[in-house]
Amino acid sequence: MAMNSAQIAQPSLSVQIASLNLKNPIITASGTFGYGEEYSGFIDIERLGAIVVKGLSITPKKGNPPPRIIETPAGMLNAIGLQNIGIAVFINDKLPFLRQFKTPVIANFFGDTVDEYIRAAEALSNANGVHALEMNVSCPNKEASWCVFGTNPETLSHVVSMVRKVTRLPLIVKLSPNVTDIGLMARVAEDSGADAISLVNTLTAMCVDINRRKPILANITGGLSGPAIRPVAVRMVWEACKAVKIPVIGMGGIMNFKDAIEFLIVGAKAIAVGTANFVNPLATIDIIEGIEKYMIEEGFTDINQLIGSLKI
């Protein structure tokens, strides 16, 4: 008996995203895990494949006035307005905490202009303890014209190539789902020098207060996340995986290990957990353990056997 259980080797969960080696494919989604500290009392950060921090910009942002969030059927809408402490404060005040852990830190960033993107990427690339960059070109809740970066092939190509020039860190481009052809956008990111892509960001959406006859969010529209969007996200991740050769990080509505496995099966090399953290701060750990158990039951020894195993 003891022999028998010893024979069931722990399956290997490690995956490679560009030069980044993750001990497992579970990462946190930007904006849903703060700067790591907020959840460090709940889970052991060391167990995560990687940690993605809240979106950063070269100058701090106050963000949108409240209300910033509203629950929707099986989801939520947010228009935080990219409130953040700015890259300098992040490096000084937050990175030292994150450097304690062996878990790679992926810095999510954005800019209002191409120049701001470049400056943000430069500043983060020089920071000790940032292991990769995730470029948010898809935030749907800002009105500024840069919003088109993520939904227009030309502007996307331009901003990604410019950022590519200034960083040697693995560059992940985070795509917007609010497009006609996600495969095209994925290819554009790949061709412009991205080392990986991640998707989906939130779906642009809106709720109305029927008594005041005003939008519920101060920002009018917001981004929809949570289980409601999962089937759309799975479809888009599948299309992106078919379109590019670089690794794809899948996310959107992942609440448990079963959801995560759907993304892995359609081809995602890693998955990110967002809104689920709010509902269950232990979601990431539960997912890691659930995948491990599933792999043992289904006879997988290496997670790469599972990734992309969809039979059509």
Partner: protein, 260 residues
């Protein structure tokens, strides 16, 4: 420090049609809450409602947490239907509670706001002058308990069905005008937005110190999503910054709050 932990429902009793008292037993070790802190409570069995709901700690003994709440929408309606023996999940204790008073103090509660203030009354027995107002006598919850814990109590209802007819802020003004020495006492309050707004004018004009517990829509409860912000006066650009109710609050100094 806070935790995500399962609890077993010990009892769930309706106080009247709208209000419920929920007692739960933690099934794993917890961190004891402070007065003014809150928990995020599971609000459904599946994904609709999705987000946990914030409720103040109303009472705490070893291995027993109590919540007093109004049934408003789907989340609180779910909670009102949970049964003895069932298990739900909580996150907490969360937020910065009331800074403990150093002697006598004043408590101003509006309706269900008493839920948040009761642990303060309990911890500092017979130290508080209590002002407790509500729309009507049905919404004056746990009135006897509250009055017993206070040194002195003033009660009002909008419709006069119990106590003085009128707003509780009126009774409070009368009191400090006839007891000017009390202006030195710290004030702790929790209630509706109109009550807080009126109170902030009174507090300012009498130059008093007031700690107010405020509400905002929440998602994470731990400061991660930045969804639950209020405007707080400070020296930054434009004279304010957004602070999270869940982590920086829910208790703020009333004078620092900027109303929308």
């Amino acid at each position: 420090m806070s935790k995500h932990f399962p609890v077993e429902i010990i009892s769930n009793s309706s106080i009247n049609q709208q209000f419920h008292l929920l007692a739960v037993r933690p099934l794993s070790e917890i961190i004891p809450p402070e007065p003014g802190q809150f928990y995020m409570l599971q609000a459904g069995d599946n994904y609709d409602p999705l987000i946990k709901r914030p409720l103040s700690i109303f009472n705490y003994y070893e291995m027993r947490l109590e919540f007093l709440f109004r049934t408003r929408g789907r989340g609180t309606s779910y909670l009102s239907r949970t049964r003895t023996g069932e298990t739900i999940h909580l996150i907490g204790p969360l937020g910065n509670g009331y800074s403990p008073p150093n002697g006598d103090f004043i408590v101003i509660a509006g309706g269900i706001g008493i839920a948040s203030l009761m642990p303060l009354l309990r911890q500092f027995n017979k130290k508080a002058v209590l002002f407790y107002g509500a729309r009507n006598s049905n919404e004056l919850l746990m009135l006897d308990t509250a009055c017993e814990l206070a040194r002195k109590s003033f009660i009002s209802t909008d419709d006069g069905s119990k106590g003085q007819k009128g707003l509780i802020t009126g009774l409070f003004v009368d009191f400090i005008e006839s007891n000017p020495e009390c202006k030195l006492l710290p004030v702790y309050c929790c209630g509706s937005l109109p009550m807080l707004k009126t109170l902030s004018l009174i507090i300012e004009s009498h130059n008093m110190i007031c700690y107010a517990s405020v509400e905002e829509y929440m998602a994470c409860g731990v400061g991660a999503c930045l969804g639950c912000v209020v405007k707080i006066k400070n020296d930054e650009e434009n004279g304010f910054s957004y602070k999270t109710v869940c982590k920086d609050g829910p208790v703020f100094e009333l004078k620092d709050l900027i109303w929308q």
